[in-house]
């Protein structure tokens, strides 16, 4: 690889000289301790009010608080970071030194995350996503000033793109397209001109914005909303019938958990905005904690359009993408496990428009399942269909919640042909296309044996052609 320093923009406004070591923002310990500190302060205050005489107890509590804060302060003191030679280095640790290096070419995405407390203080956290690493190894720069974080994110992405294009101009070996160069292909296809440096002012084209009212109604009408409603109704009726609140005590943790999950979904998806930027789709969302994430269309492993029964009455749907790589967040783990929703709730037209923006072409599931499939799944049959073109395969299924899944043929990891005993009796078979994402699999369900066999013979070649082209 040629010297990546030559690809750096002439100046880094945040950093000045890039090889300098930088510190995080001094308020970092407060933000890191976050909720813990708030809870602790509240608890101490309550204790202090409850027994005003007992001052020694208060002193002990204050000492614990001070120790916790000073621990955070020391951690801040010994943490520093640097960008040099195309590598981001983060050093930390007082007793056990820990030095992490992140080659910028390997960075898949950089997220800006703001927890509630960080927002109050105007700080933000930078999270680096590196392919194939778990969350422990991924990089975190917490916390920086919001403007600095945005600026640094932009510059790191520009550096990463520039270093990547350099690599593509001088590929190590043409015969073996390695992951790095495959990624650059993606990046340069997104950039307006391959090899062009991303200009500091990134022009964003807004694509979608969720309506808060609709989101609230939609979540209430969704499955989690329905479960929450049932649980709340159960609690209320129990109280009304028995007349005592003690009977519901065992219910409470359960109810609390469900309400919390619904609230998390709402606060996580509140204000979702999607905009097209040169490096991909900029996704911002959150009510208290704001997450900024960039989805590169070339890294999308699968797209899922979900239309639950009740939502269909309003013509609403949800569009989510599955992107390779771990995305577990400490704060929003429940959200990390879900697919990333580009459109948490929107009209079908909006969602299909988004699919058009993500994919080069949009085949629709137009090939219905054969008549025999009705005997196997009389309800499921209604929406059972698939379709394809030379780049994508799309399948739709599900009666209560209609799910339409698009999978790029070039991302297919393996193809499976499956035939269960009932299917064999009816002369049917299923063909599955597996992709690297965590939960999306396109399954072309219940086709006639002849069609499934023909597909199973043809799809590997189609996938290979898509990979090559």
């Amino acid at each position: 690889m040629s010297d990546p320093t030559s690809a750096q923009p002439p100046h880094l406004s945040v950093a000045g000289d890039t090889a300098d070591w930088h510190r995080l923002h001094p308020l970092t310990p407060v933000v890191r301790a976050g909720r813990g500190i708030i809870a602790f302060v509240v608890a101490v205050a309550l204790i202090a009010i409850a027994n005003q005489r007992n001052n020694s107890q208060l002193v002990v509590d204050l000492v614990v608080l001070a120790l916790a804060l000073s621990g955070g302060f020391i951690s801040w003191l010994v943490t520093r970071w640097q960008v040099a030679n195309g590598v981001l280095r983060i050093d930390t640790g007082l007793i056990r030194r820990d030095s992490r290096r992140f080659p910028l070419t390997q960075i898949q995405a950089i997220d800006v995350v703001q927890t509630g407390l960080a927002r109050v203080l105007g700080l933000a956290e930078l999270q680096l996503r590196v392919a194939g690493s778990d969350s422990k190894r991924s990089g975190r720069l917490a916390c920086l000033r919001l403007a600095d974080a945005e600026e640094l994110r932009r510059e790191l992405l520009a550096l990463s793109a520039a270093a990547g294009t350099l690599q593509a101009e001088h590929p190590p070996g043409l015969a073996a397209p390695l992951q790095g160069s495959a990624e650059t292909g993606v990046t340069s296809s997104v950039l307006p001109v391959p090899g062009a440096r991303v200009s500091p002012e990134v022009i964003e084209r807004p694509l979608f914005r969720v309506r808060s009212g609709r989101l609230a109604v939609a979540i209430v009408l969704s499955r989690s909303g329905a479960i929450a409603a049932v649980v709340i109704a159960a609690v209320v009726t129990t109280i009304a019938v028995t007349g005592s609140t003690t009977a519901t005590a065992s219910f409470l943790p359960f109810a609390f958990g469900i309400v919390l999950a619904v609230w998390r979904q709402f606060s996580g998806e509140y204000g979702t905005r999607v905009a097209a930027a040169p490096d991909g789709f900029r996704l911002r969302s959150g009510l208290i904690q704001i997450t900024t994430e960039t989805v590169r269309p070339g890294r999308v492993q699968g797209i899922r359009l979900e239309e639950p029964l009740v939502w269909r009455a309003f013509g609403w749907c949800r569009l989510a993408v599955d992107v390779a790589g771990p995305k577990e967040r400490g704060e929003n783990r429940s959200e990390g496990r879900r697919l990333r929703a580009l459109v948490p709730v929107g009209s079908r037209a909006e969602a299909l428009q988004m699919v058009d923006d993500l994919l080069a072409s949009r085949p629709m599931p137009d090939r219905r399942a054969p008549r025999e499939a009705r005997l196997k799944g009389p309800f499921q049959y209604h929406f059972l269909a698939w379709g394809s073109d030379e780049r994508y395969v799309v399948t739709s299924r599900g009666r209560v919640c209609r799910k339409t899944t698009w999978v790029p043929l070039e991302k297919v990891q393996s193809i499976r042909w499956v035939q269960g005993p009932v299917q064999r009796r009816l002369g049917l078979a299923t063909v599955n296309l597996d992709v690297a994402g965590r939960r999306v699999t396109a399954s072309i369900d219940d086709r006639t044996q002849a069609e499934a066999g023909e597909l199973f013979g043809r799809l590997p070649d189609l996938a290979r052609a898509a990979r090559a082209g």
């Binding site: 495959a182 990624e183 991302k411 393996s414 042909w417 597996d434 699999t441 499934a452 996938a463």
Partner: protein, 161 residues
Amino acid sequence: MSADTVDADIRWQRPSPRLLRCRRIEVASVAVPAALVGGLIGASASAAAGLGVAVGLLVLGLLTERFFARRVAAWGFAERNEDLMVRRGVLVKRQSVIPYGRMQFIDVTAGPIERSMGLATLRMHTAAAASDARIPGLERDIAAKLRDQLASLGEAQAAGL
């Protein structure tokens, strides 16, 4: 009742016949002690009950053995130009195609009974969790050869995510 969906001219390779012996030992090592213990417990009520339970469990073991025999017979794999094909299953028939370039890593494992027979199980992993490609009952040297062969093919055709 042919499950061959793709061209019939694929040359399927099969697991070693010793795999069946391996499975038989596994079944016997569960069925015989179970029959003994069940028989003793049944015999505490009456001798006939004990005999009945023991015979019943042994018959169950024999049925399981038949099932395993069919499963072993159904297993096969084929190395094609660009991908590996694996087929398996009796009740639910499955066939998988895994392009060499998609293989992330390859495992060769051998349990104690397999090891005593000189057999090993080869397992291929792709980036997708759903892909399953497992070939049990390969002779140990064939497994090692296949692993190296697949690894080098995978390296030559490697594709990014």
